[in-house]
C-alpha cells in the first residue's frame, strides 16, 4: 500500500487542470500560491512547465541541484532545454553545458518550440557551451581527471556561471562527466563542490543523468542520486504493448511534491503531462 503522502499527492493533477491553479486536497481546494506559502517558504524557481510546477507545488526550490535521470529517448534533454528557455523568457540568464551533443545540433532540436525565440541566444539570456571545448582549454586531455583537475573544472563552471549571471544551469549529461572522474569519491567531490558553488550563486541546476533502460537505480554511479537535492525520473513504460513516456518526482528537498507517475508528451507547445491511468490496478 502506498503511503498517505503519496495518496494525497496523487490528487494533484497537472496539465489539463493547470490553468485553474488549484490543488484538490481532502476534498477542499486551495490555490497553488497558498499551498506554496503553507509548504514553506523557500523561493521557487518555476520551471515554466505547467504540469511539473503543479507536481512541485510551484517549482523547484531555488538554488537546488536536481538530478534529471532516465534512459535514452525519455525526453530528458527536451525537458531540460524547456526549463532553460522558460527561464530566459522570464529574464533569468540560462546556461546549457553540453557534454555529449554539440550545441548546433541541439539548437536545431529546440527550433520547433512555439515559444522559442532566437533572440534569447543573441541577447545572451540563453547560452550554450560545449564541455569538450572547456576540457581542451583547461588542458584536461587525459581519460581520467585528477583531484586537482576536478577542483579546476568545478571552479571553471561556477566562474562561468558567475560571469554570465546564470540563474538556471543544465549539464547534459553529468554521467558523461562522471566517466572522466571514474571513482565514487571523485564524483562525490565534484558534484558537491559544483552544487555548493552554484547554490551560492542562487542558481538552480539540472544535472541530466543517463541510466540503462533496465536499471532500477537512479544513476549510473550510484553517487549522483545521493548528493542531488532532487530526483526527477523519466522512463519508458510498457503497458499491454504500448510504450508510454513517464515522469515521476522521486525526491525534492525543500518542498512537498507529488510522487505519482505521469505520462508526458513532447509537443511544440512544450512538455505536457497527464496522470498515469491506473485502471483499478493494485500493482
Amino acid at each position: 500500500m502506498e503511503s498517505l503522502e503519496a495518496s494525497v499527492d496523487e490528487m494533484v493533477v497537472p496539465s489539463l487542470f493547470c490553468n485553474r491553479k488549484e490543488t484538490i486536497i481532502s476534498g477542499s481546494r486551495h490555490s497553488q500560491e497558498s499551498m506554496v506559502q503553507k509548504s514553506g517558504e523557500r523561493e521557487r524557481c518555476a520551471t515554466g512547465l505547467e504540469g511539473l510546477d503543479t507536481i512541485l507545488y510551484g517549482g523547484i526550490p531555488r538554488a537546488n541541484t536536481i538530478l534529471l535521470t532516465g534512459s535514452c529517448g525519455t525526453g530528458k534533454t527536451s525537458l531540460a532545454l524547456e526549463f532553460l528557455i522558460h527561464g530566459a523568457i522570464k529574464g533569468e540568464n540560462s546556461l546549457f553545458i553540453s557534454v555529449t551533443e554539440n550545441s548546433e545540433k541541439l539548437l536545431q532540436n529546440i527550433m520547433p518550440y512555439k515559444f522559442f525565440d532566437k533572440n534569447l541566444i543573441k541577447s545572451g539570456r540563453l547560452v550554450f557551451v560545449d564541455l569538450p571545448i572547456m576540457y581542451e582549454r583547461l588542458g584536461m586531455t587525459k581519460a581520467e581527471l585528477s583531484m586537482e583537475e576536478i577542483d579546476l573544472l568545478a571552479a571553471a563552471i561556477s566562474d562561468l556561471a558567475a560571469e554570465l549571471g546564470t540563474k538556471r544551469l543544465v549539464i547534459d549529461s553529468i554521467t558523461s562527466v562522471c566517466y572522466k572522474l571514474k571513482t565514487s569519491e571523485k564524483i562525490r567531490d565534484f558534484i558537491l563542490k559544483l552544487g555548493k558553488a552554484l547554490s551560492d550563486l542562487n542558481c538552480t541546476s539540472i544535472l541530466v543523468g543517463e541510466v540503462p533502460a533496465d536499471s532500477t537505480a537512479y544513476s549510473s554511479f550510484g553517487v549522483e542520486e545521493a548528493i542531488a537535492d532532487g530526483i526527477i525520473l523519466m522512463a519508458n513504460m510498457e503497458r499491454r504493448g504500448d510504450l508510454l513516456r513517464t515522469l515521476q518526482v522521486i525526491k525534492m528537498r525543500g518542498t512537498m511534491h507529488s510522487r505519482a507517475k505521469y505520462v508526458l508528451d513532447l509537443t511544440p507547445m512544450g512538455v505536457l503531462l497527464v496522470p498515469l491511468l491506473k485502471g483499478g490496478s493494485t500493482g
Partner: protein, 198 residues
Amino acid sequence: MSPEMISAQQIANELSETPPASAVSLQMSVDNYLDVIRGVIDLFANKKDMDVIYVTATISSDAIKRVLEALDIDSSRVYFVDCISHIMMGAQSAQQDEHTTLVESPTMLENLMLKVEYLIRRSQSKNKLVVIDSINSLAIHNNNWILSEFLHILVSGLRSREAYTIILSVEEHSTPEINNMVNLVCDHGIHAGKKQEG
C-alpha cells in the same frame, strides 16, 4: 432519417441550452449518426464560432472528413485526434497534418488526453468543443475501470478549461455499465436514438 428520431436542429437546440463548460452525453442510434454530426458540428459548434476537437475511435478521421464534405459542412475549424487510423494496418493511413493528430492506439488513453490538451492550448478560439466518438468504441479496447478513470480526468480537465464536452454513445451497443460511466461525468443527457415505447 426515420420519423421517430430527433432532428439535427433539435440536437443543436438542446446543446445550445446547456451552459458553457458542460459535459453532455449524447446517445444516438446507428441510423441517426449523420443527423448527430450535422447537429453537433454544423448547427451547434460552427454557429457558435467554436473550435472542435473531434476524437475519433470508431471510424477514421478521413472517413469523417468525407462525411462532413458530403453533408456540405464547413470543417475548417474541426481538428481530429484519430485513434484508429494508425492501428488499421494495411489501410490507407490518415496524414498527420494541422487538422489531424494521430494516436497510435485507442488503448493509449493518456496520449489521447495529451493530444486533446495540446490542441486546446493551440486553439486561439475562446469557445471550444471536444467530441468523443464514441465511448463504445473506446470500450472495445479498454476495460471499464481505466475508461471510467479516463473520462473523469478528461472531463474534469476540460470543464476547468471551460470547454464543452460531448460524449457520443451508440444505444445499440451500449451496456448499463457504459451508460453509468458516462452519466457519472456528464451534466446533461440527450437521447438522439429510437424513441422508447410507452
